[in-house]
Amino acid sequence: MADPLLTFTEHGIYCARGDFHIDPWRPVDRALITHGHADHARWGMGHYLATDLAAPVMRHRLGDIPLETIRYGEVRDIGGVSVSFHPAGHVPGSAQIRVEHGGEVWVASGDYKVVDDGLSTAFEPVKCHHFITESTFGLPVFRWKPQAEVAADLNAWWAACADAGQTAVLGAYALGKAQRLLSMLDPAIGPILCHTAIENTNAILRGQGLRLPETVHATAEVDPKAHPRALLLAPPSATDSKWAAKFGSRQTGFASGWMALRGIRRRRSQDRGFVISDHADWNGLLWAIEQTGAENIYVTHGYTEIFTRYLNSAGWNAQVIPTQFGGEEEDAA
């Protein structure tokens, strides 16, 4: 039997025939990048290839890198291997990478979610023989509610804070989660103020044509009194900072899939946790895997061992692949 098209090396997922890596975690010559989060798009590669939608954020984060872009569905030949990028629905511009040679098809899905968040290009299942999947929330206790339901909770919380004269401080990861929350918020309740890290990403995504509600850049100079009834959107690390304290009496909320677990909610000592994730839940993972038609499943990060054992018991040929993805863990998911 011929060598497999993709292998797993100490640098990451590798295609020997095309001599390229996917989301490598050490410097290599040619890197195909699924999306701009720090554990997938790292510094120091000879050449980068990513979607045109992911490119601006990557340039913002990694500087002037040798980056080539590709549109969803467009096929490139790299060393005789057909490569194409397909929507992963994780964050704007995120992709699954399809690799084909001699009738053998692999898909490396990076991070993904299967529900349409109205902002990222929605996840598209890609038929393949070998599917590389994450399992960040690969346990049956994780089942997401419809986005509209969470949005209603979120806005009710914000409105209650505003009515009580408190600032609602919402913690969320700067790329993806923050913008998804923006699209869920009801601007009729009050002004939305954004921390610099988030506002910079907003500007980039707006520049790409994404529709986000109006936001105010919450610089050190901004006067909280000039913005009553405000919701302050900030990276998790900043929600308890001096900068946030300037906004007086406030409640803090945190938006993440991890908020589904009461223990983690309580540990974070936030006033409210909103269960909203950019990763697939249990049913989402199983649905995505089913849709690929793949027989061989490689589980790269998350609850890898339990999820793999389940897949094997349900008839797949699954194995755990140790990787360095998932570095943002509780904060990002």
């Binding site: 049956p140 206790v141 589904a260 009461r262 223990g263 983690i264 540990r267 946790g273 609850y303 339990i306």
Partner: protein, 530 residues
């Protein structure tokens, strides 16, 4: 149960005490009365009799969720709470109803009379009509163990606000042995009930630890010093010709310590004493180890009764001649206590815990250092003018404990915690060197900050050598300073010793693993302090 779920969420979601008290007070005004009583009961650790075994609950939940049982069992430790795991794996309810909390409790109590099939049908039907929090709470009604950060103090404050009654009186009413299924709101909170009053202990007055040195407490002449004993804090009630023994945890322990029955022969009716239950021998308190044999035993064999007889070492008098005297100054209460106990025969099971005479703080420093010699944990400092307050209050009573014993040990196993600490490695096993081997000698769970736990968790994930179920063997690398209150020989442990109250005092990131302590060091501590 919607109203109860709203309350629960308000308590669970807020980190602020005032918000919790407000939410509870509102509930105690507008919830149905039977629901209020059950709520008080459950938040103070009482729960309805278990109607269904947790084994069955797990099986039914896995079946309903259409997942194999092993997958449920793997998920449970990650969530850290059985009731929550079940609530999360089940599919969403197909319909919604809103029955009262007490309806569900009564329905669950009815299950004791029916067979397993009927129980299962009932539970599945309940799961199918209760959303999120209500479903979790329904499971909690079965499994017990509500932890919502509601202290007794906080609950009485809310009750006081809701009923316009005195907080101390309410605290007293909630003490003791009342049963939520046979008491009404009126009887528990409002009515006069001399019979119930007769059995009720007073709320214990609890001291704070003294972080500072006593020099800042002012003049030594204003203070009374006693040894801080290492036993079980207890209250002995002599009323109506009967005697009752209550622990600080509000557990009725009368039957566990039958030797105290003889107190009715020596002390007058209408007497309530606060003191320490201790094993007694050769005219002195014995180690906690001796008392340990008695803890957990509901009935006591004769042999043990003579080997480890228990007495109440009394240090305060709360009721004298049938009158509540807690408002009197300690010096006066103490004088009355002395009068009561001075002429008792030597075999009376109540002995007065002596005051320690001292002239200045320096003298007390020196005395404290000798606490271990008399089986004490340190000193108690009480303001002579202090009334007997309810609960933990700052200012008048201080415990001035000995510094703990410490040893530097190597972490060798890690296990994740439960509840608030689910998903974090928090339970560790520690070892000391014996030649080139590491000998495990204790476990410890507490003492690190959340930030430190997160850091060590990420290290454990990367440095796991082997897994034994939920336990991970890790590379011996990290040294922790383990603090403990006592050490004793234990043939059940590989190391031959058992520690009392072990916890992590410090993560010694500066210390190389070779420099951890040895089994010889541990044995030397056993020789000196054991």
């Amino acid at each position: 149960m919607n109203r109860f779920a709203t309350l629960f969420n308000a308590l669970d979601q807020s980190t602020k005490t005032t918000a919790k008290v407000t939410a509870l007070a509102e509930y105690f005004v507008d919830a149905p009365e039977p629901d209020r009583v059950w709520t008080i009961a459950m938040f103070s650790g009482r729960r309805p009799k278990r109607a269904v075994t947790t084994t069955k609950l797990r099986e039914w939940a896995a079946e309903r969720a259409d997942i194999p049982l092993w997958l449920f069992e793997e998920s449970y430790p990650i969530v850290g709470d059985l009731a929550e795991t079940i609530a999360l794996v089940l599919p969403p309810p197909s319909r919604r109803t809103d029955q009262r909390l007490s309806h569900w409790i009564n329905a669950l109590r009815g299950l004791s009379d029916v067979n397993d099939d009927a129980r299962k049908a009932f539970v599945l039907d309940a799961w199918d009509q209760l959303p999120d929090t209500q479903r979790f709470l329904f499971n909690k009604l079965i499994t017990g163990g509500f932890r919502v950060g509601i202290s007794q103090k906080l609950m009485t404050r809310a009750l006081a606000r809701a009923t316009d009654r005195d907080e101390a009186e309410l605290a007293h009413r909630l003490m003791g042995n009342w049963q939520p299924d046979s008491i009404t709101w009126h009887r528990l909170i409002e009515a006069d009930d001399p019979q119930a009053d007769a059995a009720r202990p007073y709320p214990f007055y609890l001291a704070y630890g003294l972080d500072d040195t006593p020099e800042n407490l002012g003049s030594p002449s204003d203070w009374q010093a006693e040894w801080k004993w290492d036993g079980i804090r207890g209250q002995l009630i002599l009323r109506g010709g009967q005697h009752l023994v209550w622990s600080r945890g509000e557990e009725l322990m009368t039957d566990r310590f039958p030797e105290l029955a003889r107190a009715v022969d020596f002390l007058p009716d209408g007497t309530v004493l606060d003191g320490e239950l201790l094993a007694w021998g050769d005219g002195a308190p014995q180690s906690f180890n001796a008392l340990q044999k008695r803890i957990g035993r509901k009935t006591v064999p004769k042999k043990l009764l003579s080997e480890a007889p228990v007495i109440l070492y009394a240090y305060d008098l709360l009721e004298d001649g049938g009158k509540d005297i807690r408002h009197l100054p300690l010096s006066e209460r103490r004088a009355r206590l002395e009068k009561l106990t001075v002429n008792l025969p030597p075999d009376t099971p109540v002995i007065q815990s002596p005051k320690i005479a001292f002239d200045d703080w320096a003298q007390l420093h020196a005395l404290r250092a000798t606490a271990r010699d008399v089986q004490a944990e340190g000193l108690m400092l009480k303001r002579a003018a202090s009334p007997y307050l309810a609960g933990r209050k700052k200012g008048d009573w201080w415990k001035w404990k000995l510094d703990p014993l410490t040893i530097d040990a190597v972490m060798i196993y890690a296990q994740s915690g439960a509840g608030r600490r689910a998903n974090l490695f928090t339970d560790f096993t520690f070892a000391v060197w014996n030649g080139n081997d590491l000998v495990p000698f204790t476990k410890a769970y507490s003492g690190l900050t959340d930030v430190e736990f997160r850091k060590i968790t990420s290290w454990v994930k990367k440095n796991t050598q082997q897994r034994f179920g939920p336990v991970r063997q890790v590379t011996p690398h990290h040294v922790f300073e383990i603090a403990f209150e006592g050490i004793q020989a234990s043939p059940r442990h590989k190391s031959g010793v058992a520690l009392r109250f072990p916890r992590m005092l410090r993560w010694r990131e500066d210390k190389p693993v070779q420099e951890a302590n040895t089994l010889d060091d541990l044995n030397e501590m056993l020789r000196v302090y054991g």
